[in-house]
């Protein structure tokens, strides 16, 4: 008997809650969402591109210095290792490296 009462009650609740599941007419909702998705995607690409360019700009100078020194060192094959070490451990290079790593992590995070 209690089971029957519980089943009756559940049935009544389903009837009472039924209007809550009534279909909602789209009325342009899907179109509005897709416009936002398109804008959102475009904005994200812009942020990615800007972040990439900014990272490149910051890292360009120290990276170029490293390339120059490496080139010289490779050409002379020794004798000037201390100069290279000085460039590699300079604060600007470390900062550029950190920024580059942060930038890459940010790009990956944004992409996900």
């Amino acid at each position: 008997m209690p089971d029957r009462i519980a089943a009756d009650e559940d049935q009544r609740l389903e009837i009472l809650f039924r209007p809550a599941a009534a279909p909602v007419v789209d009325e342009g909702f899907s179109v509005a969402v897709m416009k936002r998705v398109a804008r959102h995607t475009w904005r994200r690409r812009l942020v990615l591109a800007t972040a990439g360019l900014a990272g490149l700009f910051v890292a360009a100078r120290p990276a170029w210095e490293i390339v120059l020194v490496l080139g010289r060192e490779l050409a002379q094959l020794g004798g000037r290792a201390p100069d290279l070490a000085l460039i590699l451990v300079s604060p600007l290079t470390i900062l550029a490296g950190l920024l580059l790593m942060t930038g890459l992590s940010l790009l990956q995070w944004l992409d996900e």
Binding site: L13, L16, V24, V33, E112
Partner: protein
Amino acid sequence: MHVSDEELVARAVAARDQAAFGELVRRHQSRVRSWLRQLTRNPATADDIAQETFIKAWDRLRSFSGQGRFGAWLMKIAYTEFLMAHRKIRSEQRLAEAVEAGIAEAPVHDPTGEQSVAVDLERLLAVLTDEERGAMLLCYAHGMSHSEASEVTGLPVGTVKSHIHRGKEKIRQRFFAEEVGDA
């Protein structure tokens, strides 16, 4: 030819196919919006949250493993968005809830005996907490099982059952009191 949700998700993920995702939005907007409308009891707020839900779904589409239904996965995002938005608008809603609670206090007069039809859904929902409302709507309005409701809300099955039990108890006391007494 009917294309399944899973196929559409695969297309949307592989080629960032917005048309495929658009079809998913069209298929699921009604259910998501109707649930959010009942949760928030404000169509405009519900639609804002629904839009955010679909944007988040687009961003996280890769994380949909394909296990379980896409609809349930979407409802889970919607519920999280609702909880986040709800914190922001809580102060506004407190006032509305106080007014609605006043309405809900009024006893239901049912001379025709058609009580189950006469009880207004709004009044019914007004006596429930957010958690009870969410769980009861999923199970009684959207026909989900307790475990599906648990998946959507992120709550243990036992907790979902408790919310439903408490919700039923409140409804029984407020609206079915006379009939229960008779039984």
